[in-house]
């Protein structure tokens, strides 16, 4: 799968399944891949910048646009031209949106409220400050990220023998959800809010079709999702494309891993730092 094509000129949330999933390295590489088509803007969600290296953890070049804080930028080796000032965030001081003037590394800082981030994403596009936009996401805020508007997702994961079954199941679910039909005006029963294992119990027994807002509202294990699909036709009212599953393997063979994934294998992009 070529995830880069979908990310070019679009908003993409890059989300790690867990810590150490290779997300930051992937963001670095994504920046390098997307820059030739036009400036790239980098945002973060709910990040506590203070927990990160104060010197910076994302490599940036002149022309990149970053959401950070005044203190984090000052502590870094890069310098930015301020484009927008945002309200302060506890522990981080004033947040700012800046255009990088000098190569270096910077720590991103997320807005306190997602509505503010959504506004900022719109602004960056309207002003033409960036061509492609990347949002450093967090997997447990996936549903909230959907509120940011039209965007796609890339998930990064480090897979080893211990977590293979769990991660593969999640990836299969994501792939199934990405292939559901998009029917904004579906006449099927409209389900608002999250669809969980518990809420399945409240669905009518003879239900034939169900319409969900988007893929981020589904909180079902792959097995539950497959069982539901066997009896109910599911559709989504809004598409949030899955642009790729970026995988770092540890102690696993690529072919074996792809076998386990089944149809979800077509979404897999092996981490660019890994040799085949």
């Amino acid at each position: 799968m070529d995830c880069w094509q979908g990310m070019d000129g679009a908003v993409t949330a890059v989300t790690g399944f867990e810590k150490g999933s290779g997300k930051t390295t992937f963001l670095d590489l994504a920046l390098a891949r997307l820059r030739p088509a036009g400036p790239v803007a980098l945002f973060s969600i709910g990040l506590d910048g203070a927990q990160k290296s104060p010197g910076g953890n994302i490599r940036v070049l002149p022309g990149d646009v970053v959401l950070s804080s005044e203190s984090l930028v000052r502590a870094s080796d890069t310098r930015v031209e301020l484009l927008e000032a945002l309200p302060p965030r506890a522990g981080l001081g004033r947040l700012l949106l800046g255009r990088v003037l000098r190569p270096g590394s910077v720590t991103l800082a997320g807005c306190e409220h997602l509505s503010l981030l959504a506004q900022l994403l719109r602004r960056v596009r309207e002003e033409g400050w960036a061509h492609s936009l990347l949002v450093d996401g967090s997997v447990n805020r996936w549903t909230q990220v959907a509120a940011l508007g039209d965007l796609g997702f890339v998930f990064t994961a480090r897979v080893d023998r211990a977590n293979l079954a769990r991660i593969a199941a999640r990836m299969r679910s994501l792939a199934i959800l990405d292939r559901l039909p998009i029917e904004p005006d579906s006449q099927a029963l409209r389900w608002e809010g999250p669809l969980t294992a518990a809420s399945l119990e409240s669905l009518p027994r003879d239900l034939e079709a169900l319409s969900l807002e988007d893929a981020t509202k589904v909180f079902l294990e792959a097995r539950e999702l497959t069982r539901l699909l066997a009896r109910v036709r599911l559709s989504l009212r809004r598409r949030l494309p899955l642009r790729g599953l970026v995988v770092s393997l540890r102690g696993l063979d690529r072919a074996d891993f792809l076998d386990v994934l089944g149809e979800a294998a077509s979404y897999v992009v092996f981490h660019p730092c890994e040799a085949a």
């Binding site: 390295t25 670095d28 590489l29 390098a32 891949r33 490599r59 005044e70 000052r74 080796d77 310098r79 930015v80 031209e81 301020l82 484009l83 000032a85 001081g93 004033r94 700012l96 255009r99 003037l101 000098r102 190569p103 080893d160 770092s248 393997l249 540890r250 102690g251 981490h271 660019p272 730092c273 890994e274 040799a275």
Partner: protein
């Protein structure tokens, strides 16, 4: 929200007043209830002046669009004394840029009308050194020769480091066939590097998993030395930047009084423009403050007017004059008594918020207190009945009658015995009629109210009974309500006391009560 505000439904209009800048929005909140005539006259003058400006600019859409653009992009800036950082300087610069552009669009007369002072001299230029764009800010090299020198050395060091890195990556590719490109590390099968002696000299190797290693370019001795030097220069850069920031911050602090005056002026101007836009959109007119009677000509209670428009029903604007301090309004059920009270409450709320009013003409006074007593009023203490709550509200209102009181009573005491209620209301209205600076309007069905020569009596014209025929029994409720609306005459007319009924039986019949019951009721009244 107090009971009067809720009753007037003024919020529906207030929320449509939308200044473009944060300062206009601040001004809006500060002008919710004004009691000083000269302040209101000044606001209305400004609304008219803004109207003239908009009329002038309507022939120049580009200029008008620039005006809106600059207002919308004005940011807040820090107004307290203290250390200013880069973000605060950015805000001041952005404010000054848009403010200056705004002044360029306005004539000297317009600037005078809205007290828009000239920006602090030289401050924008000071914050715009180096090759900055108008709406962005950074601590440019141009601010300080030492800062420029430190940064030049940083650039040179950065270039040398990049060169070193490129040379090393070239050697790695040449000797080991590994191409890193933008990748900070590579994960390779262990065997690939096992025989390469150079690998250990050029690469750092870490075990990755059973069969692979993670490799990244080793930082060479020369690069370590450059990095150390770089760290030292970065620390010096921060010191130099702090000095520039302090200098620029001091200049901004010195100019703060002028900046605050600019901010106030632009808030006033922006809000005046918003009031004008609202007045144009809703056909509002300038009210007149008077010491004489309150006069309404063509007064429109906008929420009701808009509802009628949505339902396709005609709306009757209000013509009324309230000469004495107390006016009683009788009328049919569904005859519009409450809407008369609401219209006055709405118009008066507009006046005291500095807005023009939805009417052909409105002459009024200013009231320190505006109170409403009726259904949906303020909740009382626990244990009070509806009647008890009303009595407490009256006691409260009368305690605040000094300085002017507008008191609206909607079917006061309707929940108690009608004989006692009439006596109580009669006594209350008599007392109110002798209070200076008070205007009380009281809607009621109590036709037996003792008449007081100091009180004015009006009634809603009511049902056009001649047109009552022809209501089919099968008609649904909505159709019946629409029919009542169509047959009702909502004009306010003098009440001589001769018309004793309030159309209650006719309305009950129109709303579907059985003919037998209505006829029986008419018989009991002696009108059968």
């Amino acid at each position: 929200m107090d009971a009067f505000a809720a009753f007037s439904e003024f919020e529906s209009l207030w929320s449509r007043l939308c200044p473009d800048s944060p300062f206009g929005r601040d001004e809006k909140e500060a002008q919710r209830a004004i009691h000083e005539a000269d302040r209101l006259e000044a606001l209305w003058d400004q609304t008219e002046a803004a109207g003239e400006l908009l009329a002038l600019l309507s022939s120049d859409p580009l200029r008008l669009s620039r005006l809106n653009h600059h207002l919308q992009r004005l940011p807040r800036f820090p107004e307290s004394e203290g250390l200013l950082g880069e973000v605060e300087l950015f805000e001041v610069k952005k404010f000054l840029h848009h403010y200056t552009e705004l002044l360029g669009i306005l004539s000297p007369e317009a600037r005078g009308t809205f007290a828009l002072p000239a920006p602090p001299e030289g401050l924008l230029e000071l914050l715009n050194q180096g090759r900055q764009s108008a709406e962005s800010f950074y601590l440019a090299d141009a601010y300080d020769p030492t800062l420029a020198e430190v940064r030049a050395r940083l650039r040179t060091l950065g270039e040398r480091l990049a060169e070193l890195q490129a040379r090393q990556l070239g050697r790695i590719e040449e000797l080991l066939g590994l191409r890193f490109g933008e990748r900070p590390f590579l994960v390779l099968p262990q065997g690939d590097l096992a025989t390469a002696k150079e690998a250990h000299a050029l690469l750092e190797l870490e075990p990755y998993d059973e069969g692979r290693v993670l490799v990244k370019p080793r930082i060479l001795g020369e690069a370590w030395a450059l990095r150390e030097e770089l760290e030292g220069l970065l620390a010096r850069e921060r010191v130099e930047e702090a000095q520039v920031l302090a200098r620029l911050g001091a200049a901004v602090q010195k100019a703060l009084p002028v900046l605050v005056a600019c901010r106030r002026g632009v808030g006033t101007f922006d809000l005046a423009l918003a009031r004008t836009r609202l007045a144009r959109e809703l056909k509002l007119v300038r009210p007149v403050l008077t010491e004489g009677p309150v006069r309404i000509r063509g007064g429109r209670f906008l929420p009701c007017e808009e509802l009628c428009a949505r339902l396709g029903l005609p709306y009757t604007p209000l013509d009324a004059e309230f000469e004495g301090p107390v006016t009683v309004i009788f009328g049919s059920n569904m005859g519009g008594k409450t809407v008369v009270l609401k219209t006055l409450a709405f118009l008066q709320s507009c006046v005291q918020a500095g807005l023009f009013v939805p009417a052909l003409a409105f002459e009024t006074r200013l009231y320190r207190q505006c109170r409403f007593i009726g259904e949906g009023g303020e909740p009382g203490a626990q244990g009070l009945s509806g009647f008890g709550r009303e009595i407490r509200q009256v006691v409260e209102a009368l305690a605040h009658r000094e300085g002017g009181l507008l008191l609206l009573l909607d079917e006061f005491a309707r929940t108690t015995s009608s004989r006692e209620a009439e006596a109580l209301l009669g006594a209350l209205l008599g007392d109110l009629s002798r209070a200076p600076g008070l205007l009380a309007l009281c809607s009621t069905h109590f036709r037996g109210l003792p008449r007081d020569p100091a009180v004015a009596y009006r009634r809603m014209a009511g049902l056009r009974r001649a047109a009552l025929e022809g209501m089919a029994e099968s008609e649904d409720l909505e159709t019946r309500i629409r029919r009542i609306d169509g047959l009702m005459d909502y004009r306010l007319v003098p009440d001589t006391g001769e018309q004793g009924l309030s159309d209650a039986l006719a309305i009950a019949g129109m709303l579907g009560l059985s003919v037998e019951i209505v006829k029986k009721a008419q018989t009991l009244l002696g009108h059968g």
